[in-house]
Amino acid sequence: MKRYRHAASGILVPLAALAFWQLLSSMGWVNATILPSPMRVLIKWWAYLRPLEVFDPAQGSYLKWCFSGELIQDALGSLYRVLVGFFIGGGLALPLGLAMGYSRVMYGLFNPLIQVLRPIPPIAYIPLSILWFGLGNPPAVFLISIGAFFPVLMNTVAGVQNVDSIYLRVGRNLGASRLTQFTRIILPAATPYIFTGARIGMGTAFIVVIVSEMIAVNNGLGYRILEAREYLWSDKIIAGMFTIGLLGLGIDTLMSGLSSYLLKWHRGLEQG
């Protein structure tokens, strides 16, 4: 009962915002090109989502047809880049972070360079990424992996460095080798940090994908909202933006669900 009341109060503000927006449009207070009404956005959204062609069995299966809408193709394109970029960036950051956290020598060697590179926003790499990788997916994936790399790296380093030394003492007391200490104590003890890093990295990847699609590729949600601007389709811009928001929320919920499941032993599990 309490949960429902909580959920009900959670939709109050969005509903009020929507009503206010509809009021602005209905009363003609704003130019419809600048801010279309919620209804128009919704209609455009549906048109954007729907398959463009009539179903034709000769063209392939029904399922394929269902996914042939422009919005779904765009979302899948963006998601593909996010995932590839995230796994490349995070996949490089994880071993480096483990090594830097574990070994003072590695930390001393790599940290200065990392500290110089880390404050450079991925967007600043756009010119170089085009020079190096041309157009298409490669520069986009490059930018996204840079975006995902640093959060995963920094959190992994912190996670390993913050392993409570008493666990290591227990390990030594029970006769664990260095390798066993690493795989069975340090690694699991650091996972809460690593997951936090992955979640932040995924968030950054999602921001970067939109930007990268505005410069290097010709599909994806970022490309689509920029294209819609060329034609002054503000309803499509907004529909695209909400899609980006919902997709981001979906990914984050998935990540947090996964980490709650895998870290069910953890005491201070962050909520939401």
Partner: protein, 266 residues
């Protein structure tokens, strides 16, 4: 070193550097512990009793002197000297049974043997209903049972215990003290047990070693000859308690003065 001594501590010094000065945490400690003996180290905080325990455990080696177990000098921590910590130190990502099994898995013991051993220990420590719980879902007393089971699993002949019941409430503490005595009688371990509670030392130990506050030396080494189970309200128990209490208060006073002096300097 006598023939029968299990742990032998000979002329052990432990020096720390503090503000350019040598601070003796331990000074000229000589102590022999017989196989199967239950020895308590008693003293105020800062008397070096935990330092001594850590030296026996091999976590921090003495600056000079030697500690030998069954004749061989200690150079590093090892599973022949299982340690139980005050803060339990269970691995939070492992369930109760995984925590208990960990030491055996390291030794690469066969899976079926591990399972049998874990089952046996769960029964021995009344943990059967908690085997798949994570430490965060256990009370302090339950956690300490798991920590004890974890050490028993590797079957170390020596158990080192660093104020293991210090964080528990009085009733849970008494229950665990009784269980520890039962296990000790049954399994014939040599136990070196650090505490600052006089009553705990008198209730548990064959021998209580009182340590002085800085430098840590042995002030007195007292055999407790009371029959078990000990009655904490008996006159004999309370006579010993009074005696130890006086010894301990002298050291506590020095500790106190030192702290006040430190505060004045600050």
């Amino acid at each position: 070193m006598t023939e029968s001594s299990h742990i032998s501590i000979q002329g052990v010094h432990k020096v720390f550097q503090s503000g350019g000065q040598d601070v003796y945490a331990l000074k000229a400690i000589d102590l022999d512990i017989t196989r199967g003996e239950f020895v308590c180290l008693l003293g105020p905080s800062g008397c070096g009793k935990s330092t001594l325990l850590n030296a026996v455990a091999g976590f921090s080696l003495p600056s000079s002197g030697a500690i030998t177990v069954e004749g061989s000098t200690i150079t590093e921590p090892g599973p022949d000297r299982g340690m139980v910590f005050q803060e339990y130190a269970l691995f939070p990502w492992m369930t109760v049974e995984q925590n208990i099994a960990f030491g055996l898995q390291i030794k690469k013991v066969a899976k079926t043997t591990i399972q049998a051993k874990v089952d046996e220990l769960l029964v021995l420590l009344n943990l059967q209903d908690f085997r798949r719980r994570y430490p965060k879902d256990l009370s302090g007393g339950m956690r300490q049972r798991v920590a004890i089971a974890r050490v028993l699993a590797i079957d170390s002949p020596i158990m080192l215990m660093d104020e293991p019941f210090g964080a528990l409430d009085a009733l849970t503490r008494r229950t665990l003290q009784d269980e520890l005595l039962r296990l000790w009688t049954e399994l014939k371990k040599t136990i070196l047990f650090v505490t600052h509670s006089i009553e705990e030392a008198l209730y548990l130990a064959d021998r209580t070693v009182v340590m002085t506050y800085r430098p840590g030396t042995i002030k007195c080494d007292l055999a407790i000859d009371l029959p078990r189970p000990r009655d904490v309200s008996s006159p004999a128990f309370n006579a010993l308690k009074k005696e130890l209490s006086q010894l301990l208060m002298e050291e506590q006073d020095r500790h106190q003065q030192d702290e006040f002096r430190g505060a004045a300097v600050d």
